[in-house]
């Protein structure tokens, strides 16, 4: 059964923009820490301002989400899948906030200046502490892996809705409706 409703235009724009940014960010993150070439330096230079941009957009997105609740999932979707959808969406939101904040806190705890550009610097949000740095740095990496896995599940589920169930869930976010074959 098709859900006739769609996400609002603002929600769809934010979703696809942030999807591209977050996926880019995950690849930049694992790439920069595994590189000793010039890539290491310029990827880090992108990583920090991009992370803060994602944090700002996450705030906007949460506001949009609370103001405009998403369209309901299909009524015939099994309860377990509904629960999985709900839980994974809130996990994605939580990680959108947590990863940039932990990255910022981690650099603060390590005593690094948090530079978004040559001269734009953010204030520290955590006291200088090597032990906190280590914990936050590991948390940053593990939560990034969790975000990647959640993204994979999200993408797989979206394609399942769009290609197999063909129940209107995917098109509620793409805004495009294909006629069924």
């Amino acid at each position: 059964m098709n859900s006739p409703a769609q996400f609002t235009l603002a929600a769809r724009v934010l979703h696809w923009l942030m999807a591209a940014m977050i996926l880019t960010m995950l690849f930049i993150g694992v790439g920069m820490v595994a590189s000793v070439s010039e890539r290491h330096d310029w990827l880090i230079r992108i990583h920090k301002p991009l992370g803060i941009a994602i944090l700002i957009l996450a705030v906007v997105r949460l506001a949009v989400r609370l103001r405009h609740p998403p369209p309901p999932l299909p009524a015939d979707l099994p309860v377990l899948q509904k629960l999985a959808a709900l839980a994974s969406h809130w996990l994605l939101y939580a990680l959108m906030f947590a990863l940039p904040l932990i990255g910022w806190a981690m650099l603060s705890a390590g005593g690094y200046p948090v530079m978004l550009s040559e001269s734009l610097r953010l204030p520290p949000i955590f006291p200088f502490s090597p032990i906190a740095f280590a914990v936050l740095r590991h948390a940053h990496a593990w939560l990034a892996i969790l975000l990647f896995l959640t993204f994979l599940a999200h993408m797989g589920a979206a394609l399942y809705h769009g290609l197999i169930r063909r129940d209107g869930v995917l098109s509620s976010m793409t805004g495009v409706r294909f006629r069924r074959s």
Partner: protein, 370 residues
């Protein structure tokens, strides 16, 4: 029809043909799999031969052993504190705040190369000076310098190969001379360093040494004009400290430093060398011709020293790419590799300080020898 994989709801008006279902499922699986493989490749897990910061640091540990809580290279050192008194003369070339006339506080560290924090001071003829300038605008300048005018190798891969060649043979506990010889024979760019090291002796003092940036950097002036530079710290302490033969024990450098600082601050001049067009900025094995113009940017004044286990330098990563506006990295490939490897070393030693699971466990600390 109901496929076990896909619980098609009964209310659904259009069922997929069996073959269509298989292809669509396969397509979804393929999209997910391609994403995972791309991620694994970029992250290095599926590219085992790529040189990563982790592999460099593993090799440092293989060469020297693992000493929890300590830096993986230049492990033996001491903290120093003081300030940099800028005279304003470098301002023409860099608008970094540190070069405006005035004082910038400094937390630094003297060290000797190698991963063993208990190595005798006479084990290497090289000393190093690392500095962190805390600028008033909140930006920082971190630099790590060595008491030699050129670096043995020009690339991260060659550095890694050198470490590998110098790894102690388990049978003898010493590097295999054949492997070391083969490395230097295959790397003629090491000639300038080898010529220097032949005449170098382990100095009996940190204070009488000069320290070179080795890598080139770029100063950016207020008009945005870029000036390739190298810098060095030239000591005011001119007394010939002589070589280490005169000093007793294995930890004489710290004793010497403490003794000198008890009599007053120690000073170095920061000399910034401006490159001529065509001088190599991407090759730390090549010194620039000696007629290049030097700017005396000011005086580094060191006033106090503390052991590294409790001093303020302990938890600072002297990453040479922590730079203020007005100083940028050059195209030297060693710089990003240093930055990346230092970050890995910092994460390992802070994780050990935090006693995180899976980190190296500290052995009972040997008594400090004197």
């Amino acid at each position: 029809m109901n496929e076990p994989l896909v619980p098609t709801p009964p209310a659904k008006p259009h069922h997929l043909a069996w073959s269509s279902l298989v292809w669509r499922s396969a397509l979804i699986g393929a999209v997910v799999a391609v994403t995972v493989v791309a991620f694994g490749y970029v992250g290095g897990w599926l590219a085992p031969h790529r040189l990563t910061p982790g592999r460099i640091v593993n090799q440092l540990q293989a060469d020297a052993g693992t000493f929890p809580g300590y830096r993986r290279n230049h492990a033996k050192g001491v903290c120093v504190t003081g300030y940099f008194q800028s005279n304003g003369q470098a301002q023409t070339y860099s608008d970094a705040q540190v070069f405006a006339p005035g004082r910038t506080p400094v937390v630094g560290r003297f060290a000797i190369p190698g991963g063993n924090p208990y190595a005798p001071d006479s084990s290497v003829p090289i000393r190093s000076m690392a500095l962190r300038f805390a600028l008033a605008n909140g930006q920082q300048w971190r630099t790590g310098m060595n008491s030699m005018p050129v670096f043995p190798v020009a690339t991260p891969q060659a550095f890694y190969d050198q470490l590998k060649a110098q790894q102690p043979d388990p049978a003898t506990g010493k590097p295999d001379p054949a492997k070391v010889g083969a490395f230097f024979a295959a790397h003629p760019e090491t000639a300038a360093f080898l010529a220097w090291v032949k005449t170098a002796k382990p100095s009996a003092s940190f204070a009488t040494e000069g320290y070179w940036s080795l890598n080139a950097f770029v100063f950016v002036d207020a008009n945005g004009v870029r000036h390739p530079v190298r810098w060095r710290m030239v000591p005011e302490s001119a007394d010939a400290a002589g070589d280490a033969d005169k000093a007793g024990g294995t930890d004489y450098l710290y004793a010497d430093l403490t003794q000198r600082l008890a009599h007053g601050p120690l000073r170095w001049h920061l000399l910034v060398t401006l490159a001529n067009p065509g001088d190599p900025t991407n090759d730390a094995t090549k010194a620039w011709p000696s007629d290049r113009r030097d700017i005396d940017a000011g005086t580094l004044v060191l006033e106090g020293t503390e052991p590294q286990e409790s001093g303020p330098c302990r938890d600072i990563n002297y990453d040479p790419l922590v730079l203020p506006a007005g100083i940028e990295a050059s195209d030297d490939p060693l710089l990003p590799a240093r930055s990346a490897a230092y970050a890995t070393s910092y994460l390992r030693r802070t994780s050990e300080e935090a006693h995180l699971p899976g980190t190296a466990v500290a052995h009972p600390k040997p008594e400090t020898k004197s």
